[in-house]
């Protein structure tokens, strides 16, 4: 039974990833502006010869699909963009960036990945801890002061776009002399690791605060409503009737049960968090995937955009898979 559930989930995730890979291919053949022309952006005097060379270099002169239909009828072309794309993608080869001086997209992504992981990992961690505690407490003491203000604040934060929060924090941060852009003081040389970390930390403060504030609201709201729902369940009522201490009920029954839907929601929410990533990073000039996305969009760097989309989609699928598996592990009812 258990094995069956895991296999089914894995199968769905694999199928979804495959679909994403196909979708990605189709999507980027539809992009406006021809890529070879964009390779030479800002260069007005591009010759046809040069364009041809570029097309050949980037494999853009091959037919798009293996089946070619033209005046000569229908035929099969082994050299086509689709097959090349599939083979390359399977090997983790995402092609070359058009504008980032011909670097491999995989390298560009790897470079930009860890700043984003750092920023959002920290922000998420803080938001989860604070959000869940706040939500649990508000739900438990429904109608209390913490609930009233906490819930109000949560709803407000939830309604605030990340970048607006970011702009306000830039306003405040600049006033007290906090660094408001970048991840490290550019080009600084550090006497030791300690100084480097200190610098990193100072730069992290505002963006992490933005991410955390942006997420706390959502998590607190979800946790609160889960708790509220859980404590109306029979067994909690029973426990209360039996005279168990409130703290014990909260800790042993309500929170673990409320945690389930909340955790899976956090995983599902990952896709939305990414939207925040893009704007927070832009506001703080943070050298992560978000700024990379906007830069790539601005310069129509298709291979990079394609890579970002693939990476983010697959991350979300895997996060969902993980949530499903954890859910299945904890809640025997879904395992059938």
């Amino acid at each position: 039974m258990r094995g069956g559930y895991v296999v089914r989930r894995l199968g769905v995730a694999m199928a979804t990833i495959l679909a994403i890979v196909l979708f990605n291919f189709v999507l980027f053949r539809l992009m406006p502006g021809s890529p070879e022309r964009i390779l030479f952006r800002g260069i007005p005097n591009v010759s046809e010869e040069r364009l041809d060379a570029a097309r050949a270099r980037w494999g853009l002169d091959d037919p798009i699909l293996p089946i070619v239909i033209d005046d000569a009828g229908i035929r099969f072309e082994a050299e086509n963009q689709f097959f090349k794309y599939l083979v390359a993608t399977a090997q983790g080869d995402l092609g070359f960036s058009f504008v980032a001086r011909g670097q491999e997209v995989a390298n560009v992504l790897a470079q930009r990945l860890w700043p984003t992981l750092l920023l959002f990992g920290l922000g998420e961690a803080i938001a989860i801890v604070v959000g869940l505690v706040l939500g649990a407490y508000s739900g438990w003491r429904r109608g209390g002061l913490v609930d009233f203000f906490g819930n109000g604040a949560s709803l407000f934060l939830y309604a605030t776009p990340y970048f607006l929060l970011g702009m306000v924090l830039v306003l405040l941060g600049a006033a007290v002399g906090l660094p408001t852009f970048g991840m490290l003081t550019a080009g600084a040389s550090y006497p030791d690791v300690w100084a480097r970390l200190t610098d990193l930390f100072a730069h992290l403060l505002l963006p992490v605060a933005t991410v955390a504030l942006g997420l706390i609201g959502q998590y607190a709201i979800v946790m609160r409503s889960s708790i509220v729902e859980t404590i109306s369940e029979d067994y909690v009522t029973t426990a209360r009737a039996m005279g168990l201490r409130e703290g014990r009920i909260l800790g042993a029954h309500a929170v673990p049960n409320a945690l389930l839907p909340t955790v899976s929601l956090i995983a599902i929410n990952l896709g939305y968090v990414i939207a925040g990533a893009v704007t927070v990073e832009v506001v703080f000039n943070w050298p992560g995937l978000g700024t990379l996305t906007v830069e790539a969009l601005g310069s129509r760097d298709y291979p990079v955009l394609q890579g970002v989309f693939l990476l983010l989609s697959i991350t979300v699928v895997l996060a969902n898979l993980l949530a499903d598996l954890v859910y299945g592990l904890l809640d025997p009812r879904v395992r059938t």
Partner: protein
């Protein structure tokens, strides 16, 4: 129980507040004692290029003139000064130039720098030109912006009879050779690459990644593409050295963070300030703002081929100079400067900006902003109004012009709104929208190069060189399919271009350039909207010796060449007693140099780390306490 948890939460909140409040002013990246003296310059342009031939943007030129010398550099007032060559001489017929290369000069890697390097570099341009003659579509080194400097000077042959002598032959006498933006490259490095690698034609393009070897004052040693380039001092530099040990050029996504970085001291110099920010910066302490005169313009460019065979314009009216002239009467340049540029710029007229004091010639019969006159001219030219008040073209179709601009120049949105208003009063519809830059570049390609020329009017700009040749070049017939984005063609203009290029006498050359400006103004393939000012700002508490280039209306950096870096002085070089250092808000002994980026005078951020660690401990402790408490309660 209830109250106790609340009290604890309140206590934690209070602690957090206290810690943050106490910490805030001390938080700053302090690298003071250990860091070399660095000048950080911020720009809103991307840093994607280290191979000079791929240069397009102003920052690209800034980067390569830090790395390399030109054969002849640009002086404080753009006059020719020694560069790679120390002296030069021209033969009586003006055709043979002899340059003396500095004796004993070394590349930054210690190899001798000789005339052979210069010969190699110039030969690259000749080779590219030869390849270009063979090929139907031409052959360009990288972006193709550099070799025209030599080719327009009529370069025909170059030789290096001895290590200190370079002989250059030109087809006609001129002074353009002394204004050539061509970096002299180290042959011992570059000659191991093919011209296709260098010109970016091959599969293995030469990117010239750090460490770069050059003879310029600073050499690129670290490059985070799209983030920053770090330059270290060239140990073998031949000229006067500036105070900065390192130069870092940074890219900013938004001018907002860039300006804040300046006010907090995280950068020392910024280019690309917005008007409102410029106003505000003028009142900041320790910051100097510079309004430079632009050597360039923003124009309303017409697709002057309209809807003729293969061209994608929407109406034949675009081809009619009288039509374009009439529209130009309904453009209030002064208003555009006031609103779009926030007053920082000059209303435009000629295709040669007033920056070129020697070459600028205001039109003899200037147009004024006069809607009634514009209407009269349209009536006279036969563009009658249709039933709905919209004027009709020669084919009897209502004229609605598509006006577009690249998303990289979003400020033209304001210009477009004005055009919509003004031309609306003439009975000309305006359909205004922004186009993604890559897409627009593609739309601008004319049929001769296999493109659609699919636009009516685009708003964009050009930036020129110390010599006006490159700006004049844009409107030549020969440039259709290349630089020309108006597809305008005028035989007299083309003829004058070649004549002025080969004219060594300045007065005679001025007369030619003047006539060219007149023709372009009359026929109006471009309506010049304005000459945008260059808005820069820099800090005055770390470096001194800022010098505008040119002295009148120039800017210290991002001008022509790297001279601006070489005159910088370290304001904190002498250990001065406290009172004489008014820039430091924190009294007491501040060790120099103050490499600290922050405006609060820096400070140790160890308290921050300690504070955060403390915070975590407190929070963890509180949680643990809560947990213990409830467990204890359970046990009771």
């Amino acid at each position: 129980m209830r109250s106790s948890i609340r009290a604890r939460l309140a206590a934690i909140a209070a602690t957090v507040g206290l810690i943050l409040a106490g910490l805030a002013p001390t938080v700053a990246p302090t690298l003071a004692q250990t860091e070399p003296l660095v000048i950080r310059a911020g720009t809103d342009q991307d840093l994607q290029v280290l191979n000079p031939f791929n240069s397009i943007l102003v920052v690209d030129f800034e980067v390569f003139t830090l790395n390399y010398d030109l054969l002849v550099n640009f002086g404080p007032d753009l006059e020719p000064v020694p560069g790679f060559a120390e002296t030069w001489d021209v033969s009586d017929d003006g055709l043979t130039w002899t340059f003396k290369i500095r004796e004993g000069m070394l590349w930054s890697d210690g190899e001798p720098a000789t005339s052979e390097d210069a010969r190699y570099t110039f030969q690259l341009a000749l080779d590219a030109d030869a390849l270009s003659q063979e090929s139907e579509d031409g052959y360009y080194l990288g972006a193709g912006y550099l070799e025209p400097y030599l080719l327009n000077a009529g370069l025909t042959a170059v030789s290096a009879p001895d290590p200190e002598t370079l002989v250059v032959e030109t087809a006609f006498p001129n002074t353009l050779l002394l204004q050539a933006y061509m970096p002299i490259l180290p042959k011992h490095i570059w000659s191991s690459y093919t011209i296709d690698d260098i010109a970016n034609y091959s599969d293995t393009p030469f990117l010239n990644e750090p460490p770069v070897v050059g003879t310029g004052p600073y050499q690129a040693v670290e490059w985070q593409a799209g983030e920053f380039i770090r330059f270290a001092r060239n140990p073998n530099y031949w000229g006067d050295e500036g105070a900065a040990e390192e130069v870092i050029i940074l890219t900013f996504e938004s001018s907002d963070t860039m300006v804040q970085a300046l006010t907090t001291g995280q950068v020392d110099y910024v280019r690309g300030v917005q008007p409102a920010q410029f106003d505000a910066l003028a009142n900041e302490p320790d910051i100097e703002t510079v309004e430079g005169i632009s050597n360039g313009y923003s124009e309303i460019a017409f697709n002057t081929k309209g809807n003729t065979e293969g061209y994608g314009g929407s109406t034949s009216a675009l081809t009619d100079p009288a039509f374009r002239d009439a529209l130009a009467w309904a453009v209030d340049q002064e208003r555009l400067v006031e609103v779009t540029l926030g007053g920082y710029g000059v209303p435009g007229d000629s295709i040669v900006p007033p920056f070129h004091t020697r070459w600028y010639s205001p039109p003899e019969n200037p147009r004024s902003f006069d809607i009634a006159e514009a209407n009269r001219r349209l009536d006279a030219a036969g563009y009658e109004r249709g039933g709905d008040g919209i004027r009709l073209d020669a084919e009897g179709r209502p004229i609605t012009l598509r006006v577009t601009w690249p998303d990289s120049e979003a400020e033209h949105e304001t210009d477009a709104q004005f055009l919509q208003e003004w031309w609306g009063e003439l009975g000309i519809g305006v359909d205004a929208y922004q186009t993604e830059e890559g897409k627009l570049l593609e739309d601008l390609v004319p049929p001769v190069s296999g493109g659609p020329a699919n636009f009516d009017i685009e708003l964009w700009g050009w930036v020129g060189d110390p010599d006006p040749t490159s700006l004049l070049n844009v409107l030549r017939t020969e440039e259709i399919g290349s630089f020309s984005d108006s597809f305008w063609s005028n035989a007299r203009y083309d003829e004058l271009f070649l004549e002025q290029r080969a004219e060594a006498d300045e007065d005679a050359r001025f007369e030619m350039i003047k006539e060219m400006q007149e023709i372009a103004y009359e026929e109006a393939p471009y309506i010049i909207m304005y000459y945008d000012a260059e808005l820069h700002a820099y800090r005055t508490d770390k470096f001194g010796g800022w010098r505008n280039q040119p002295t009148e209306g120039g800017t210290p950096l991002f001008g022509y060449g790297s001279g601006g870096y070489n005159t910088l002085t370290d304001l904190n070089a002498e250990p001065t007693p406290g009172p004489t250092d008014p820039t430091s808000p924190t009294a007491g002994p501040t060790p120099a140099p103050s490499g600290s980026g922050s405006g609060d005078g820096g400070g140790d951020s160890t308290p921050l780390i300690l504070g955060i660690v403390g915070l975590v401990v407190v929070a963890a402790g509180a949680l643990l306490l809560m947990r213990r408490r409830s467990a204890a309660a359970e046990d009771e």
